[in-house]
């Protein structure tokens, strides 16, 4: 079974530029998450999708971050304009009822804002 795929793996941008990350969840997983992990900290949820609907985006800085999951499969997370404090790993994860609550994570997209 293929895992959660993310791209790009690494990105360096200047502040005020924009960046987009892509995620392809495990096939058939209806629930998709984006987490932000700052160096030395645990992941923090940014947004949760159920199919193509948003379940929870309370922690998403909506003035600069946006996410969508068209057709309930792939998802993109965009940051515009980026700030220095956005430097972090952006982790995509997915799950479904058959996983018994196990949430599977991708390898992450590492963002450095300079």
């Amino acid at each position: 079974e293929a895992g959660v795929a993310q791209s790009p793996r690494y990105k360096i941008i200047e502040k005020r530029q924009s960046v987009a990350f892509w995620c392809n969840p495990i096939s058939g997983h209806a629930t998709l998450y984006w987490y932000q992990q700052i160096l030395g900290q645990g992941p923090k949820l940014l947004i949760q999708f159920q199919n193509n609907g948003v379940v929870d985006d309370s922690q998403l800085p909506k003035d600069r971050f946006s996410a969508e999951r068209l057709k309930g499969v792939d998802s993109t997370l965009k940051i515009q304009p980026a700030k220095l404090e956005d430097s972090a790993v952006y982790l995509c994860a997915s799950t479904d009822l058959l996983s018994g609550n196990t949430i599977y994570f991708g390898e992450g997209s590492w963002l450095t804002v300079v």
């Binding site: 959660v4 629930t31 900290q41 390898e107």
Partner: protein, 115 residues
């Protein structure tokens, strides 16, 4: 805060020794999960324990859960150098009413196993 908090923040042991990491949390949970993260990599799910369970085993891993104390422990027996990684506990709150609730992570324990 609902997030779990791991203790200790860092642990350094020799190969063959056992490693014990603890996690405390503040609210009622549906389940608690432990993850491993190697440097520069994503999170790997290790084990899930439900609120009505007290202990689970998986290979060299043993997890306990004490809901009265709101704490959990992860024991890695006969540790290997390859076990060197950060270990996170994550909780799914009971008040979500959903089996697909969000995970609240702690800051993690950095385990170093010396050959």
């Amino acid at each position: 805060s609902q997030q779990g908090e791991e203790d200790p923040q860092a642990l350094s042991i020799q190969e063959g020794e056992n490693a014990t990491m603890n996690c405390s949390y503040k609210t009622s949970i549906n389940n608690l999960q432990w993850y491993r993260q190697n440097s520069g990599r994503g999170l790997v799910h290790l084990i899930l324990i439900r609120s009505n369970e007290r202990e689970k085993h998986s290979g060299r891993l043993r997890v306990t859960l004490d809901t009265s104390k709101k704490s959990s422990s992860l024991l890695i027996t006969a540790s290997r150098a390859a076990d060197t990684a950060s270990y996170f506990c994550a909780t799914v709150p009971a008040d979500r009413g959903s089996t697909l609730g969000r995970l609240y992570f702690g800051r993690g324990t950095q385990l170093t196993v010396w050959p």
